[in-house]
């Protein structure tokens, strides 16, 4: 049997050669071995497998999402630091620390990782943790599917890191425009890694989207009408609707590109009747809604924390709902603004420019409503409010940059420049990430039973904020100076270098901010008895998740709540509506299952095999995954019952200083 029949296109030459890439590979390999050894040494494998990997509890799955996303944040962050180091040093005669190709792989990986495996991961993590609690449900609609979704997400994350060790990664940018991403110009397996890790992670996201859409529509507790839902649930509903409509476009586009590359078809190639403009349209028909998929839940988090820490109701709830719905619809009408410069006619560009500016209206309404939530409140400057204030300042400025880019003639001068890079980082970092950080600090005690350390959290916030301004402020100016994005080298006469150096310092400060967040986590865990949340309601919360003990018990609600008002729990606390007084009942919960991780494992094998053209292995992956799915359909014993007496006993044991139901 020939080598290629067994190993496909894998050869000895796929191992990295240059020192920095070799270091990256070593970190991945040694890190994996080290982690595996540590888990064995501590004897944690069994616990991990039984309690976590096979768990169908959305709170456990949510925590695993956050762990994977944070790990990937480190990876994407190191990529960012390398990029900053390269651009700060690669001027004139100096070529910097990276080769052009390596630099291009790094920014392609940075973008793909940060969007797909950090932002999406954190989003689904928080959604898993909080949505069932906020709607008064004990689980999601499809618990097993939830596990499959998470493990597909994890499989995508693993595959993208395998490219550090075997072969290279795509050097065609985070959206891999053809024809650069076609075989003619990117002959290595890098783009295939990009396709398959995004494809696998993306299908996980699509399944999650369906799951939470159904969960919110079907699983709300008695009395929770649509107009009584917490705003976070509303934004998640909007985001999940977008996932369901947008992600199939991504799946199809990636599939077409992989057909081009793997089977020699011509959907997007330069010759053979391919149309690269079709790819650009398709990828942004997914890509623009994706931005709103990420930002809507962040808006939802701010809509939760601003009222709670202002001790007020959310101002303009109806307006907020309308603006969410408006954003959901409008987000599908603006994708062309990502390529005004492609040469469409003035009418087309103008229409998309106007639609883009129109989205600023509902977004602006949201900001005004948050501000009027603060009006005549009693504001406590806890971490979530800090993140909120940082968000408003940066996001508003970034939004102005966005309106600028929405005017086609202005875009002609700013597109593809670092101004654009600064703009979308402002939206994604200060919008999405700050929002998720606020949410994590806010909900942490509900999941883990203790609050996070305030002092270190404050330092982390200021480092992120100042670091962000220093890292991206110069990029706005560089855009006006004619610095295009993705350059690995520039002439000394451009005068770019001082600004790139400042941006580098900013990136280091952001890294410091992240380090403080890790330190905050470590210190909070060590001092957890000091920060223990015994009331279940450390912030004087408004919504149902604060009505149960912290950490939330595995069955969420011992007695399912009945909702009589918006801000249900606040109304109960203030005696406006009665507490739920019904008795305990038997609770049915899903049994753990190892099949989710098994399906994702086979899909990971499939992805790896196709990247390297190892066809027998690909076939094994497909057959394996389908077999496990079929196996699952025959399993009828998927739930177990906790008797009412047991629920009552457990509830009494975790309920100390909590409002009695």
């Amino acid at each position: 049997m020939s080598w290629s029949l067994i190993f496909g296109s894998l050869t000895w030459s796929v191992f990295p050669h240059n020192p920095i890439a070799l270091f990256g590979a070593a970190v991945v390999v040694l890190g994996t071995i080290g982690a595996a050894w540590a888990l064995s040494y501590l004897g944690l494998w069994r616990v991990l497998w039984r309690e976590w990997f096979t768990s169908l509890d959305p709170k456990r799955i949510g925590v695993m999402y956050l762990i994977v996303a944070s790990t990937m944040l480190v990876r994407g962050g190191i990529d960012a630091l390398l990029m900053r180091a390269q651009q700060a040093t690669s001027v004139g005669a100096s070529q910097g620390i990276l080769t052009a190709e390596h630099f291009q792989q790094i920014f392609s990986a940075h973008g793909s990782i940060m969007i797909f495996f950090v932002a999406m991961g954190m989003m689904f993590g928080i959604i898993n943790l909080i949505v069932p609690l906020q709607i008064g449900a004990r689980d999601v609609a499809f618990p097993f599917l939830n596990s499959v979704s998470f493990w597909l997400f994890a499989a995508g994350a693993i595959l993208i890191n395998v490219s550090l060790v075997l072969g290279d990664f795509s050097a065609a940018g985070w959206l891999s425009y053809p024809p650069l991403s076609e075989l003619a110009y990117s002959p290595t397996s890098g783009v295939d890694y990009w396709i398959w890790s995004l494809q696998i992670g993306g299908i996980g996201s699509l399944l999650s989207g369906i799951n939470f859409l159904v969960t919110i529509i079907k699983m709300r507790c008695t009395g929770m009408t649509y107009m009584r839902m917490p705003m976070f649930v509303w934004t998640v509903l909007g985001a999940m609707a977008l996932v369901v409509f947008a992600f199939p476009i991504l799946t199809a586009t990636l599939a077409l590109l992989s057909l081009d590359r793997t089977l020699g078809m011509h959907f997007f190639t330069a010759g053979g009747g391919g149309n690269m403009m079709m790819y650009v349209n398709l990828i942004w028909a997914w890509g623009h809604p994706e931005v709103y998929i990420l930002i809507l839940p962040a808006f939802g988090i701010f809509s939760e924390v601003v009222p709670v820490f202002s001790a007020k109701k959310l101002a303009g709830y109806t307006s907020m709902v309308l603006s969410v719905v408006g954003i959901v619809f409008l987000s599908f009408t603006v994708w062309l603004h990502h390529f005004f410069t492609m040469g469409a006619g003035a009418n087309v560009n103008a229409v998309f420019g106007i639609m883009t500016a129109v989205i600023a209206i509902p977004t602006g309404v949201k900001i005004f409503n948050w501000l009027f939530t603060m009006y005549r409140g009693r504001i406590r400057f806890e971490a979530p409010i800090q993140w909120f204030m940082g968000f408003v300042v940066l996001f508003t400025l970034g939004g102005v940059a966005g309106v600028l880019l929405a005017e086609p003639p202005a875009d002609y001068q700013l597109h593809n420049s670092l101004f654009l890079v600064a703009h979308f980082h402002t939206m994604i970092v200060s919008g999405v990430l700050f929002g998720y950080f606020a949410g994590i600090v806010y909900w942490f005690p509900k999941i883990f039973g203790f609050t996070l350390d305030r002092v270190l959290g404050r330092r982390a916030f200021w480092l992120w904020l100042v670091g962000f301004v220093l890292a991206f402020g110069p990029l706005y100016i560089l855009g006006f100076m004619g610095a295009t994005r993705r350059i690995d080298h520039y002439a000394a006469s451009t005068g770019f270098q001082p600004l790139f150096l400042v941006a580098g310092v900013g990136a280091l400060l952001i890294a410091g901010g992240f380090a403080f967040q890790i330190a905050q986590l470590v210190r909070s865990i060590r001092q957890r008895e000091l920060h223990r949340d015994t009331t279940g309601d450390p912030w004087d919360g408004h919504t149902l998740e604060w009505s149960i003990p912290s950490p939330a018990p595995f069955y969420n609600f011992a007695v399912l709540p009945i909702v009589h008002a918006r801000d249900a729990f606040w109304a109960m606390k203030r005696g406006r509506v009665p507490y739920q007084t019904h008795g305990f009942e038997d609770i049915r919960l899903p049994k753990n299952s190892a099949l989710g991780i098994l399906i994702a494992g086979f899909v990971l094998v499939l992805g790896f095999a196709v990247v390297w053209h190892i066809w027998w292995l690909a076939l094994a992956g497909v057959v394996g995954a389908i077999s496990v799915i079929v196996m699952r359909t025959f399993d009828e014993d998927t739930e177990y019952t906790i008797p009412a007496s047991e629920v009552m006993r457990h509830d009494a044991s975790v309920r100390h200083g909590i409002h009695t139901i």
């Binding site: 190709e101 690269m276 209206i361 309404v365 501000l371 603060m374 009693r378 939004g399 202005a410 002609y412």
Partner: protein
Amino acid sequence: MSRGNILAGLLTVVALGACVAVYLHGANIPVLQPHGPVARGELWVMTVTLLLCAVVVIPVFVMLFSFAWMFRADRPRSRRWHMPDWDHYSVEMELIWWIVPSIIIAILSVIAWRSSHQYDPYRALGRGAPLEIQVVALDWKWLFIYPQQGIASVNMVEFPENVPVRFVLTADAPMNSFWIPSLGGQIMVMPGMTTQLNLLANDRGTYTGLSGNLSGRGFAGMTFAAQSVTQAEFDQWVASIHDTSLPLDSTSYKLLAKPSENDPVAFYAPVDSALYGQIVMKSMMPEHEMMQGMMQMPNGMMMNESSMP
């Protein structure tokens, strides 16, 4: 938040602003220092947009910080002011948050519509016949063909001041973007397709031209000099190229099109007048068919067709 903290914060912002101002004084910022009507108009659009946005942004900032200061919980008065259930101001007030931004966006929409047409890259500038320059993005250099003059240049383009220039562009390499920030905004170039960009320089000078879209390994080195000169200097330049250069036909083009990085400036004359059309059609059909097809086509037909109307 104490008064001291706020003061320190304000001082930091002012100090940073001053540093930026000192640094940028005298710096080369082409987008903000236009040398042609297109770049000037595009800057005008940015300025107006920015000012209109300020109408919303300034109140937001004022409200954010003043509300945060006035309604902080540790302020004794906050208890008296506290209105926990005040969640719904009158409909009229709520309408303000919808209508004010809507008016601004309506104004911006008018600007977007009008300016999109006025600064449409395909729109001819001025009344006189433009100087046509065909541009081909290659791996990794720019080829400029002057069909009227019969010359070509690599990584350098020259044109007379105050004469409208019509760039007709394609790529024989991955998608790219053609950008001379001092003169005006960019347009994408794609293999098998033709786009257009009309620019005009009011002043003499050498401006940097850039490659905007990632096109592979050597893309950062794909810069070129765009020189605006007097008509006499331009004529002289054309003549000197005719005197000293090698011809550009399909054979020498094939050599030129091979991937190379950081290429020096080079000149060609005479240039095969069908070359640009052949490059555009290259990915449409196999080479032998193309040669036959091209012969039957009226000369220059390719150039007058844009891929997207």
